[in-house]
Symmetry: C3
Subunit: 152 residues, 3 copies
C-alpha cells in the first residue's frame, strides 16, 4: 500500500506545513536523502504547547507534541516532494525534548513521533533514533525533531 | 558569480581554520557531502565569547558568535576542499546555543549564521536548519554549529 | 590490517548490541552510510553509569562511559553489517554529555569515544566530531553518541 493511501486509511489529514522562523528553508534534498529543518509542535502558525516536560507539561502532553511535530514533518515533505510516495523510508529521527533536569523518560516522548512515522511508513523497516534533553527550544516549545528521509 | 568571488566582493576575509580540540579532524567528505566538526566562535585560537545568551551575553553578542562560527566553517571547508567553489550548497545547519533556561529567541541567534551563509552561497537555494538550546558547550562558548555541505 | 583483526589484537571483545528503548531500530543504511541510533553506556541491558559529569560523575567516569557507548556502537554495526570490515571509516561522531551547567571539558569526555574509534579504524583517516552539553539523557545516563559510518 502506498504512503498516501495509508494516510487516508488512518484518517490522518496533513496540516499546513509550518513556515520557517528565520533565514532558512523547510527542507533540502541531497545525496538521495531529504533533510528537514527542525519540526516543532506548531498548529495554525502558533505553538500548540509551551513549557517543559516533567514541569509544566505531562508525559502525555509531551508525547502528543512529538506526534504533532512528526505530522508537520510529513506535511513539509509532502509540500517539498509533491507526494510522500517519493519517500522510501525514514533514515533517522532525533527528538530534542525540553524537560526537567532530572527527566529520564525520553523514550516515552520520542515514541509519540516514532509510532506515528511507523504507522504511516512500512512498519517492517523502522528508523534509527536519538532522544536528547534540551535546555531550551525555540519559542519555549517542548519538542523539536530532526528528520532525515531516504528518497526513492 | 562564484562563491570565491562573492567572498571578495563582500570583503569577507576567511580566518585561520580552527584546530580540533581532541582526537578528530575538522571535516570528512562522504556520500557527496562534507560533514564539518562542531564550529565554535574561536578567533586566533581563543574563544571570542564565553557565557550564556540571555545571561552573560546579549542577543546581539550571541548572533555575532554564530556568525563567527559560520565564518570558521567556511575557513575549514576552504582548507579541506581547496576552494569553496567545490560546494554546491549548504544542506543543513544546526545551531546549538548555550542559553538561559527560559530562552526563546533561538531563531535570532541562528540567523547570525544563516544570513552569513545565505550571503555567500546562492540565496535562492537556502538551507535546512535546526536551533536548539544546549546546557553547556565546549570551553563555555555560547554557540556551536553543525554544518553539512553538498559537494559539486 | 582489517578492522576485525585489529579488534582481536586490541583484545576488545564486542559486547552484546544494546536493544532499542522504543519504536525504532538500532541502525539504518542509506546513501552509502550507516546511521546508528543513540548509543548509550549500557552494559548487559542496564545503565553502567547514571548521573551528570561534573556532579555525580568524575571526568574519568564520563570518559569511560563515552568509550563504552562507542563499543556498543561497534557491536550494533557488526550485528547490522555482519562484519566491521564493511565500514570504510567513521564520518561523524556527536557526543551528547549530561553535565553540570558550568561544564567546559566536553573534549575530554568525547575523546573517550574518539580514541576508541581511532584505535579500531585507520588512524590516518579520523572523523568529524561535535561535543554538546545536554540537559538530560535517557534513563539519566551521562553520555549519548550519534555515529555515522561510511560503508565500503
Amino acid at each position: 500500500m502506498t504512503v498516501m493511501r495509508r494516510l487516508r486509511e488512518l484518517q490522518l489529514p496533513l496540516p499546513e506545513p509550518p513556515k520557517p522562523l528565520g533565514t532558512y528553508v523547510p527542507a533540502v534534498a541531497a545525496g538521495g536523502m531529504l533533510f528537514l529543518s527542525g519540526m516543532l509542535p506548531v498548529k495554525d502558525g502558533r505553538p500548540a504547547w509551551t513549557g517543559r516536560v516533567g514541569m509544566e507539561l505531562s508525559l502525555d502532553e509531551g508525547r502528543q507534541a512529538a506526534r504533532l511535530a512528526a505530522l508537520n514533518g510529513l506535511a513539509v515533505a509532502q509540500a517539498e516532494l509533491g507526494s510522500l510516495d517519493q519517500i522510501k523510508r525514514v533514515v533517522r529521527l532525533t527528538v530534542h525534548i525540553a524537560a526537567a533536569l532530572d527527566f529520564s523518560d525520553h523514550a516515552v516522548i520520542a515514541d509519540g513521533a516514532s509510532t506515528l512515522l511507523a504507522s504511516v511508513f512500512n512498519e517492517t523497516d523502522g528508523h534509527a533514533r536519538l532522544a536528547i534533553g534540551a535546555c531550551s527550544l525555540p519559542a519555549k516549545m517542548p519538542v523539536e525533531l530532526e528528520i532525515i528521509f531516504e528518497l526513492c
